[in-house]
């Protein structure tokens, strides 16, 4: 009797703790959403609040009044789509080659990829390589090419492929099918959850990319969304520039602080939208990764 009473209190305590933590996880989102729909003057007077005194869509109207955000959106979508497609292609080809211990030199190949996770040449040599020898500065490829292969994802995908029963493609091989055909018609269709998981890992990394822009991009038309966020965090004039195309007469009415928040909201928007998928595949992929190490 005593025990079950204690257990009840314990459950109440656990509910309270986890619910408070979840609320704290959610609070910054709600605060930023609410503030982004606040009227600029109200925001400056009252500060960032969950329930704004005066609502306004001005910040959202403002960020679509110039090309900065729409351009950055297109850049970011291109990086994410093209990058993820290229990454998945390169990763799945190599993962298939390494899987199933069919190759004599598979362990050496794996070590070759694994070593890049352990030791890096550092930012300076990457910088010199990119600018002096590859001449990728000020092109959209500087976001994509250095990030195409993640060895971590490669090993994760190899582990997925290892789970496919060998007999399944041995029989097709006897029929004379080439490796590419086996990969395309048997392995990949059986690995859709793996492709989704690893595709999401890659896509999220590309969507979040900003450092290449800071180091290599001069042309404002090639800025990614996250780099614009990075710029306007501490430079409020930059936020104002997003909302106005240089006509000084309009400056007075131009929202800047709320524009900053609206920019953040349109940047996380797709992630919130894809959240159910992220949750399903990410968590599934993570469990597989955790079990297999």
């Amino acid at each position: 009797m005593q025990n079950s009473r204690n257990d009840k209190w314990l459950a109440v305590l656990f509910y309270a703790f986890t619910i408070v933590f979840a609320a704290l996880c959610l609070y910054p989102f709600l605060l930023v959403i609410a503030s982004s729909f606040t009227e600029e003057a109200t925001l400056l007077r009252n500060g960032y609040r969950l329930l704004p005194e005066a609502f306004s869509f001005n910040a959202y109207k403002a960020i679509f009044s110039t090309n900065t955000i729409p351009d950055a959106y297109l850049v970011t979508i291109f990086i994410t789509v093209a990058g993820t497609a290229l990454s998945l292609l390169v990763t799945s080809l190599a993962a298939y080659s390494l899987s199933g211990s069919r190759l004599r030199y598979a362990p050496q190949l794996a070590l070759f990829f694994y070593f890049t996770m352990l030791f890096s040449g550092g930012m300076v040599s990457s910088y010199i390589l990119t600018t002096r020898y590859l001449h990728l500065q000020d092109t959209i490829w500087v976001y994509i090419l250095p990030a195409v292969l993640s060895p971590w994802n490669l090993f994760l995908m190899r582990n997925f492929f290892n789970d496919i029963p060998k007999e399944l493609f041995e029989s097709v091989k006897l029929d004379g099918a080439g490796e590419l055909r086996i990969l395309r018609s048997i392995v990949l269709p059986l690995s859709l959850p793996a492709l989704a998981t690893i595709g999401l890992f890659y896509a999220l990394a590309y969507w979040s990319s900003w450092a290449p822009a800071m180091l290599y991009i001069e042309n404002p038309k090639l800025y990614s969304l996250q780099y614009i966020i990075m710029q306007i965090i501490r430079n409020i004039d930059m936020a104002q520039n997003i909302a106005v195309s240089g006509t000084p007469s309009a400056v007075q009415a131009v929202p800047a602080y709320t524009v900053r928040l609206a920019t953040a909201m349109v940047t996380v928007g797709p992630i919130i939208f894809l959240y159910p998928f992220l949750q399903r595949y990410f968590v599934g992929g993570l469990k597989v990764g955790a079990i297999k190490g």
Binding site: N3, N6, F14, F17, T18, A22, L24, C25, L26, L31, V32, N46, G47, Y48, V90, L93, Y96, S97, R102, R104, L109, A110, F112, F113, Y114, L118, F119, S120, G121, G122, V124, S125, S126, Y127, L134, V148, L149, L154, G178, E179, L180, L204, S208, W210, A211, M214, L215, Q226, I229, M230, Y257, L261, A264, I271, Y275, L278, Q279, L286, K287, A290
Partner: protein, 310 residues
């Protein structure tokens, strides 16, 4: 003799399986260009590097770059910050993730638990620049949420962006906010793997729930905890560039408490003249980091062959 035939067999195997080997070629190329070529660039650390003369034309200066770096006190400070932040992140992150995982599995599966679970992993998907922007709404001097709260409570406001002392705890809390919920998922997967019969037996014997947690769940999770802890210790020299740069930026008021090896190198790369010096610092980080990861993996493999990374 046998070595020759062995080599011969090796080549024959490659020729025989050429179509399978070929599939790995694009990945090998990307790896060579973007990972192995920069490794050759570590040579810059031993040069007075001149961008115009390039890697082969620059003057060699031996260990001068290292001498200069290790003579000053910067390296001690940034090394300390790097290790200190990583340690704090690992310890607090493990503790909170573990607590959340134990609590949520104890509560069973119901609508509340499922909702909490979905919400708590949301921050994991948000990029650091966005979190940096979110943080502004909390820490700004007069309009920020925290100073509004302090004002309402009749307390003095804090000028966060000129006050280095408050940032170590802020970084720890923000890191928990982003990572703890997601980290809990790993431990929940491990808890689910524990034999249900143990709990049944304990329940029949009349053990209260908190005793089940401390006598069954936590002891059985010990190897998972130790292993994850060990593997993250291997990365203790690694950077938190994205995080710290997003939250702190180039705000020199705060360097005294937040500057790490990564942020130091990143700043030097964009501002200082000497790429050779900067590379020397990066090489110091790479080498020590490499030794730590390899050691951690070795120890992990000794403890448990299954959970070693390689």
């Amino acid at each position: 003799m046998s070595r020759i035939t062995n080599k011969h067999r090796g080549i024959r195997e490659i020729v025989h399986n050429r179509s399978l080997y070929l599939l790995a070629v694009p990945a090998v190329l990307f790896s060579v260009v973007f990972s192995y070529l920069p490794m050759a660039g570590v040579a810059i650390a031993f040069q007075d590097f001149n961008p115009l003369a390039g890697l082969f034309g620059s003057e060699w200066v031996g260990l001068d770059n290292f001498r200069f770096f290790f003579r000053g006190s910067d390296w001690l400070i940034i090394t300390f910050h790097t290790v200190f932040f990583n340690l704090m992140f690992i310890i607090t992150g493990t503790a909170l993730a573990l607590a959340l995982a134990v609590m949520l599995t104890e509560l069973g599966r119901n609508a509340v638990v499922r909702t909490v679970q979905s919400v708590m992993i949301l921050p994991n998907f948000i990029s650091w620049p966005i979190i940096g922007l979110f943080s502004v709404t909390f820490f700004t001097a007069d309009t920020g949420a925290i100073n509004q709260f302090l004002h309402a409570a009749g307390l003095a406001p804090i000028d966060f962006y000129t006050e280095p002392g408050v940032w170590p705890p802020i970084l720890v809390l923000v890191n928990l906010w982003k990572t703890a919920g997601f980290g809990a998922i790993v431990y929940m997967a491990a808890i689910v793997g524990i034999d249900r019969e143990l709990y049944e037996a304990a329940r029949i014997a009349g053990a209260p729930r908190f005793q089940c947690i401390f006598r069954i769940t936590l002891p059985l999770l010990k190897s998972t905890i130790v292993m994850l802890f060990l593997l993250s210790l291997g990365n203790i020299f690694g950077g938190n560039l994205e995080m710290i740069y997003s939250l702190v930026g180039d705000n020199s008021f705060l360097f005294g408490s937040t500057d790490t090896i990564d942020t130091y190198v990143f700043r030097a790369l964009r501002t200082s003249g000497s790429l050779g010096m900067t590379q020397a610092i990066a090489l110091y980080q790479s080498v020590v980091g490499f030794l730590l990861v390899v050691t951690a993996n070795k120890i992990a493999a000794k403890l448990d062959r299954e959970s070693a990374l390689f």
